[in-house]
């Protein structure tokens, strides 16, 4: 038995982000995986000391570019709770719409990277082609492609015109059709099944004990989605979490496909019910936030938690960000032992690691 130690990452072409795993192999089979963080740690939580609570919106958006909208959404919700600001219903709906747009693009991005992790380059390009349409939607409605910067304490900064809504709906039809087509292409492919079915199995029990969140938990049969807590406008939109029970890489990609399609539906329903009115509440008291609170939202990668502590000053006392990947690393460590080296990228990517999120 030959033992090899492979430094997997932080710079590795198959990894979209720099996670560092020390893999101990015995004949191409992983026996132990130890993570090491800190490669892209930027100290964003600590920035709350020098940026005031308005400026922090732009800072938290940069915790994770791919789900910037949802980070800012969560942050604004927390501050609004501390300052007792009532957000107008139209703004609530618009936040949901943009969050779901972000969810679709994040899932498409992931599906592409996932295809690339088992060497299916052409499929990767197909996913990213569809994603480009979502980026266009984001760019035309919010003003930016990725870091959308539409949230503000008390509402949103942009509104949707009737013309934009019509255009958005036609674009969404195209996106939905394309996703459906690629879903059958990918999920029925012999070689894809060969590479993903039964790889990196996580049982429901393990997922719960190790604190898995998001598609990793839902792929293992846990019906756990923070959107069920009906924050923002989710309470008024009929919503049901997507659950698969197999707990392998195949199930996790299936969850993401179905969620992307469910998000398209959610956007349609939200546009349909979009109430008229203001998009930005007048913040009456200029008193900075005071007190402490915890806010949770559902990111494409899973549950995101923010802890706020303010003492009535311009800067928050403490802002803690727990990103979903941080919660999903322990399940990853449980999945890796026993898989072959050739499956390590597939299993690692199946949790959708966002390391710059994790290390903040």
């Amino acid at each position: 038995m030959r033992k090899t130690v492979i430094p997997f990452g932080p710079q590795h072409p198959v990894l979209p982000e720099p996670i560092h795993l020390k893999l101990t192999l015995v004949d191409e089979r992983v026996v132990e995986a130890i993570p090491n963080l800190g490669y892209v740690h930027r100290g964003l939580e600590r920035l709350a000391d020098v940026r005031d609570f308005h400026q922090m919106i732009q800072v938290v958006e940069r915790v994770c570019g791919i789900c910037s909208m949802i980070h800012a959404h969560c942050y604004c919700m927390g501050i609004e709770e501390l300052m007792a600001v009532e957000v107008p219903p139209r703004a609530q709906f618009l936040r949901v719409i943009w969050s779901e747009v972000h969810r679709i693009q994040s899932h498409l991005l992931w599906l592409g990277l996932f295809a690339d992790s088992f060497g299916f380059e052409s499929l990767f390009m197909q996913f990213w082609r569809i994603r480009e349409k979502i980026m266009d939607i984001s760019e035309s409605t919010t003003g930016n492609r990725v870091i959308v910067s539409v949230n503000v304490i008390g509402g949103v900064r942009r509104d949707l015109s009737a013309e934009q809504t019509r255009w958005l709906l036609t674009e969404l039809d195209w996106v939905e059709e394309q996703i459906q087509r690629l879903q059958t292409t990918m999920m029925e492919d012999y070689t894809v099944k060969k590479r993903t079915v039964g790889k990196g199995v996580l049982t429901a029990q393990q997922a719960y004990e190790l604190g898995a969140v998001g598609p990793v938990a839902r792929g293992s049969g846990l019906s756990q989605d923070t959107r069920q807590t009906s924050y923002a406008a989710y309470g008024e939109l009929y919503f049901e979490p997507v659950v698969e029970t197999e707990g392998d890489c195949y199930a996790r990609s299936k969850v993401r496909f179905r969620e992307a399609l469910a998000s398209v539906d959610l956007i349609r329903r939200a546009l349909d019910k979009l109430p008229a009115g203001e998009v930005r509440a007048k913040v009456k008291s200029l008193k900075p936030p005071k007190g402490e609170t915890v806010m949770r939202v559902e990111q494409p990668r899973g549950e995101l938690l923010y802890y706020f502590k303010g003492s009535g000053e311009k800067n928050l006392d403490r802002l803690r960000i727990r990103t979903p990947t941080f919660a999903n690393i322990p399940p990853l460590l449980a999945m890796l032992p026993g898989v072959y080296l050739s499956d390590v990228p597939v299993v690692t990517l199946s949790i959708d690691p966002c390391i710059s999120c994790t290390e903040r």
């Binding site: 400026q55 035309s140 292409t185 492919d189």
Partner: protein, 139 residues
Amino acid sequence: MFKMTHNILRNLVVRKSTRRYPFEVREAFDKVRGELVNDIVRCIFCGSCEVRCPSQCIQVDRKAAVWNYDPFACVFCGVCVDICPAKSLSQKTQYLRSVDKRILISMQGELKKKSREKDKEAEKDKPAPVEPEGPAATG
């Protein structure tokens, strides 16, 4: 596999999704937050943009009436545009082109009186602005 074959072969005949970028540029959407410009004639040097900017890329000298801006530190969030009381800041729909040298923009304006009505009157009287754009390249 066969579905993929179909997909791949269709891609051979339909229009390509990529374009030869610097030679062929897509038309921008109307509300895109691109390059930040300051109409220095209207600027009242209040400093709100400096205070609210999350990346601290703007420095305003209220006494000397100088507006300094570092486009490479800017994150193009548009917060300054939103809060500008004189509406002198705006964003183009085109993004900043990539360059190989750092650019620092420094604009010299003229101080105006506090009242905005008087400000407008004064503007009518005034001729052309003093040095509307002066990008000074530094290392």
